[in-house]
Assembly symmetry: C2
Homo-oligomer: 232 residues x 2
DNA sequence: TACAATCCTGACCAACCGGTCAACTTGCAT
DNA sequence: ATGCAAGTTGACCGGTTGGTCAGGATTGTA
């Protein structure tokens, strides 16, 4: 996500656009470290706060406190609240594209799709806040990442859909609309992160145990595979 | 939802708690009409705005403009922004419980579940904003409707789960966890309302056509029925 | 040590927002 | 017509929030 840095960074005087002597590289490396470490701390705190309160509900003061920094320091690294939000989103999106590698023409459909679902479910469990930030952005019309959806994500889904169509033509599974299949998989997995209060309430628990998630995962895998006519 | 009125209404002086003569009923009816008409207008505008911007992102001024009323008038009918939000949520929740009537022991599983999915999908299409308001509330931890989830919704799902367990024991379908089945159905249907930007972007369209939704619905029905071992 | 670049921060401000209120109009029974 | 309750509204207010800025502290080099 090359846009991240240019978006996230504040305009420190002449930083990055001034030619530097070769021997000054070490300096910049150390400065870079301070920078990236601070940015990482801020991003982590921001992700938590944005996930809980959304963009409008989150306050820079709250994020600053969560990061253990004075508020003005946030504005040193991220010019505006919107820029910080974009940076959090960029980090989230980088998680999103992953895990589809196994969906290839020469792969076994049951294994490939099953492992994809398992990976997605694991992702929503380990990166709950990222999932919520993403969901929030969707809910509000995806004003910041619309272009990403129409280009990168669409291209990826188009490619993987061709794989599934190929599987269907080879008789390995039913001829189904791969795109809607992805929508269902995404929705069914993300719901355990985004709608956790509902899930917990209906199950009569206060939190989602690993075992419960495991059960949900395997049932979903079974349902998708059988529902797609994949012999398991 | 009896709590709605007491929550939503402003404390007009002595309204509702003063004994009235029987012949004054017509008066109150007309006053009630003004009241309910105004409340309905405000609620409709609020649902749209809350759906787009969330609770924190929405402003009373914006809602007022959408309703074509001065801001102070909103506060006449709904004391606070939170009370207005609660009223919108209550309206949303009343939609939520419906449509499960068909899931009965003596029903045919394929028909009952299939029609339930179709009804849910229709609901997300016709009440997109309501779905988004609900999703937003979930995302932020369901602070306002936690009790509803743990009581009414849980009771309903418990009851319907027993029906599905019964179907499984009679050999009409596989023995699956009914609760997770509901989570999957809810997620897969709501995603077409809540994540519409993603769906449209991946499909390469600007809006979801009725035909596209129809296709998604039938594929989901087929997947759920076959995935649950229900003979179709 | 001297310097420059980067990093850090307390104090401050303008804009916005939810909510109030006093004054006004409308509707309706007598 | 009269009077009162209900409905309506412009103007206003205090608190919050994103963002700024001047100046000090740190870091690393020459």
């Amino acid at each position: 996500m090359p846009a991240t840095e240019s978006l996230a960074r504040a305009d420190t005087p002449r930083a990055g656009d001034v030619p530097r002597a070769p021997d000054s590289r070490n300096v910049m490396r150390r400065k870079e470290h301070i920078r990236s470490a601070a940015e990482a701390d801020i991003l982590a705190a921001a992700e938590t706060v944005f996930a809980r309160a959304g963009f409008s509900g989150a306050t820079m003061a709250e994020i600053a406190e969560a990061a253990g920094l004075p508020k003005a320091n946030l504005h040193y690294y991220f010019r505006t609240k919107a820029a910080l939000y974009r940076a959090v989103l960029d980090h989230t999106l980088s998680l999103w594209l992953a895990e589809t590698d196994g969906i290839r023409i020469d792969a076994d459909p049951a294994l490939a799709l099953g492992n994809y679902i398992r990976a997605k479910m694991r992702l929503t469990a380990t990166h709950r806040d990222a999932s919520r930030v993403f969901a929030n952005e969707m809910l509000h019309g995806a004003p910041h990442i619309g272009k990403y959806l129409r280009t990168e994500l669409k291209a990826l889904v188009d490619e993987k859909s061709r794989v599934i169509d190929h599987w269907a033509r080879k008789g390995l599974m039913d001829a189904i609309d791969a795109r809607h299949l992805f929508f269902t998989i995404w929705a069914a997995t993300q719901t355990y992160a985004d709608f956790q209060p509902q899930v917990c309430a209906v199950l009569g628990k206060t939190r989602l145990s690993r075992a419960e998630l495991e059960r949900a995962t395997e049932q979903l895998v079974r349902m998708v595979l059988r529902g797609s006519g994949i012999r398991g």
